[in-house]
């Protein structure tokens, strides 16, 4: 039954037909869009199942811990495909992001076997990995008996593969040869400019290309627009203030958080170049940032852009993506631009946040859970999410080449593909991996707050911060 139709979609999945050819042939056979979608999913399932025993753990019940996020929604929407393919049952707990990591930490630190796999950020694995709470996924990825032959791990963007692998040595290079793969990249965000096209036209300015231009453009927008402020960046007393735009710009000048020599770490945020960068950043916030900047998190930065309270943000590209839709006042007015803070740099160097999947070491069915993880991070599911849901940014190079995905993004989010494609080669985690990451980076944000509030001059503030950080590193045996 439907052999001709099945053959057609099998050929498309195998790459023997282009999307246009598939659409033309489907029309000739009278296949509706809904039926086409179903046939495509079935064809993908057949392709994945062809050379691998997906039914090896039939009847197993898995439980996942998920964050309330569009990535989780895309997975849940496609989960039946996995259940049909493997005969496994999958249940999940979804928790809001505000409390999500408290739940994860509590579950892992108590050795709970309730959850087999869970969502995590790469930074968190710097705690979970050395503590022995999560499994090294190299043991699974590199084992052909456990991983299906079409998985194509190398298709995952190299910067993301490296950023989620660490050897556990403080200061150890991410993605080194001896690194353990603590998690699998699932969806990610890099940091660039998202701006209000109408406001830019009104003020007669172009998207800035470097930090000098950003400071000047933001000031002009604040002055000329008569209401909205020039640039939104995060400012709360949290490590999350440092990791988006700030670190992306900072890294573009070749600056680092720590120097590593003979296995010892030293604070590196008080170099002359770093001080110059901090001065410009502080000036930008003082002149053109939000009034209550020191309370700003992801939510405030995004909400202001969507509501027309700010003219641009230097933050996650997907934050600008979300603000261009929904019931946001400025829906359809948001543009995107790549940003290299250093005028001498050849390309942007965005720091990244990677929502990833990790395997709990306390799970009693790790092999079965890995089946789920490899399906959830497969090309097939990535394509499904990218084409039909808001599974942006996908982590696989092949998905970024997909015509249908690119067409959808280009139509509704002009400039988005360009900012991504320009920045992706340099996109990775620019922090130094070490166990005091959250504490020390939060202190950095606290110092930044004092500089913006003019409680501390930049030079003095950074020298004090570096001295304080060095002392803590020594106390912890890291410096």
């Amino acid at each position: 039954m439907y052999e001709k139709e099945k053959g057609l979609f099998d050929a498309f999945v195998a790459g023997k037909l282009s999307r246009r050819e598939l659409l033309a042939a489907s029309a000739k056979l009278g296949i509706s869009a809904a039926a086409g979608g179903m046939l495509l999913t079935q064809a993908q399932t057949r392709a994945m199942a062809a050379e691998f025993d997906w039914m090896a753990y039939k009847g197993t019940k898995l439980k996942l811990l998920l964050n309330k996020h569009p990535y989780a929604d895309a997975m849940i929407a496609n989960l039946q495909t996995f259940k049909d393919m493997t005969g496994m049952d999958v249940t999940y707990d979804v928790f809001p992001e505000d409390v999500y990591f408290d739940k994860v930490t509590a579950a892992l630190s108590s050795g709970s076997s309730e959850y087999d796999a869970f969502m995590t950020g790469a930074y968190m694995t710097w705690t979970y990995g050395p503590a022995g709470w999560i499994a090294d996924l190299n043991e699974y990825i590199k084992d052909p008996a456990k991983t299906n032959p079409t998985y194509n791990w190398d298709d995952v963007l190299p910067g993301l593969r490296a950023s989620t692998a660490w050897n556990g040595v403080p200061g150890g290079e991410l993605g080194s040869a001896d690194a353990k793969q603590w998690c699998i990249p699932w969806g990610y965000e890099l940091n660039n400019l998202s701006y209000n096209v109408k406001m830019f036209e009104k003020a007669g300015v172009q998207p800035p290309k470097n930090l000098d231009e950003l400071v000047a453009t933001a000031a002009k927008l604040t002055k000329d627009l008569g209401g909205p402020y020039g640039v939104g960046v995060r400012g709360s007393r949290s490590w999350a203030t440092i990791h988006p735009g700030f670190l992306s710009g900072y890294s573009n000048f070749g600056q680092k958080d720590f120097s590593v020599a003979d296995g010892k770490l030293t604070a590196a945020m008080n170099t002359a170049e770093s001080k110059a960068f901090h001065k410009q950043w502080v000036q930008m916030i003082q002149e053109s940032g939000p009034k209550n900047w020191s309370t700003y998190t992801w939510y405030q930065v995004g909400t202001d852009l969507g509501a027309g309270a700010s003219a641009m943000i230097f933050d996650a590209d997907i934050l600008g993506y979300f603000m261009n839709g929904g019931d946001n006042k400025e829906k359809g007015n948001i543009g995107y631009a790549p940003f290299a803070a250093n005028p001498k740099a050849t390309a942007p160097t965005p720091n990244v946040w990677i929502w990833s999947l990790a395997l709990s070491n306390f799970s009693g069915q790790k092999d079965a859970a890995w089946y789920f993880m490899q399906w959830a991070s497969s090309v097939e599911h990535d394509l499904f999410g990218a084409r039909k849901m808001d599974f942006v940014n996908p982590v696989r190079a092949s998905v970024w080449k997909d015509e249908e995905f690119r067409g959808r993004i280009d139509k509704s989010y002009p400039g988005y593909l360009n900012q991504h494609d320009t920045s992706a080669p340099g996109a990775k985690i620019y922090f130094t991996a070490q166990p005091l990451f959250f504490d020390l980076t939060t202190q950095w944000a606290e110092t930044l707050q004092k500089m913006v509030a003019k409680e501390l001059p930049v030079d003095e503030g950074l020298d004090k911060l570096a001295a304080n950080v060095d002392k803590q590193l020594k106390d912890a045996g890291l410096g």
Partner: protein, 285 residues
């Protein structure tokens, strides 16, 4: 006879209005927000003139939330039920255990009595997270993780000390002579407790029960750590509207209105008992 002058009455009226505006304006604003979309809430400058919508309430009640990231399933009504069930059950059990205990502490002097009472009170001092991680290990061994029974048990950390200490103070304020007179008539100790002590302490018991209910309702961390998503109370559930794709202010406001409604109704109903019970229990004769 009232000697208040007109000027005093006017000043008093103005001051009362100021206090009411100060305390009630945030609630008034939240109620207004609950009838608006995100777009009108985030208008610059804000305005109280808008076209009201029931979409926030319908999203909460039907469990479908439309956001920038598409349609999302939400379980707010389930969260509301969990809060009600956990709080009401915990308070009921705490009343059953706490009232006799409070009576015993008030009327009898026994060895280590004060130490036991203070130990129970000290449950209120301990930071919940400090207790919860070890507790989660025990819960795992006892099979209580992710069960309503386990949660109601842990909620006793909130309810039991409150009820015990408030009701104890109240029992101490009631003269024991009435009970002695009743006992002399040949009634048992248990009958005296039920027929004399408890009815006399009713306002205090109502006040303590209400306070314990409010504290239990507002708890956040116990269910978060010890239970799965399907057993989370409204305090955790309301955070689901803070999503990566934006904050759903309208739905948050509607969720606040719905979640404070039960405690507000209960507090208004029992207001008389609350004031009387707390003030009488607090003053020693």
């Amino acid at each position: 006879m009232d000697h208040t002058s007109t000027l005093e009455q006017v000043i008093r009226g103005v001051l009362i209005t100021c206090v009411l505006v100060f305390f009630l304006f945030p609630i008034f604003w939240i109620v207004l927000m609950s009838f608006q979309t995100n777009e009108t809430i985030l208008r610059i400058p804000p305005s109280i003139v808008f076209e009201p919508t029931l979409s926030n309430y319908s999203a909460l009640i039907t469990g479908r939330l439309e956001s920038a990231a598409g349609n999302l399933d939400i379980a707010f009504m389930k969260n509301l039920w969990n809060s009600f069930f956990l709080s009401a059950s915990s308070v009921l059990i705490a009343l059953v255990l706490g009232i006799p205990a409070a009576y015993a502490f008030a009327r009898f002097r026994f060895r280590l009595g004060e130490d036991i009472a203070f130990t129970l009170l000290s449950f209120r001092f301990a930071p919940p997270l400090l207790v919860l991680l070890p507790l989660s290990l025990y819960f795992k061994q006892l099979g209580l993780t992710n069960t309503y029974i386990g949660l109601i048990w842990v909620y006793q950390l909130i309810c039991l000390p409150l009820i015990l200490w408030i009701v104890r103070g109240y029992f101490e304020d009631i003269s024991p002579d009435i009970e002695h007179a009743y006992r002399i008539s040949g009634n048992s100790w248990l009958k005296t407790f039920w027929k004399i002590a408890v009815p006399l302490a009713k306002p205090g018991i109502a006040a303590a029960g209400l306070l314990a209910f409010i504290f239990a309702w507002n708890n956040f961390v116990f269910a978060l750590i010890l239970a799965s998503a399907d057993k989370q109370p409204v305090t955790v559930g309301a955070l689901a509207f803070v999503t990566a794709s934006g904050i759903q202010y309208g739905q948050i406001a509607a969720a606040i209105v719905l979640s404070i409604a039960p405690t507000l109704a209960l507090a208004l109903y029992a207001q008389r008992y609350l004031v009387e019970g707390l003030s009488l229990g607090a003053v020693k004769g």
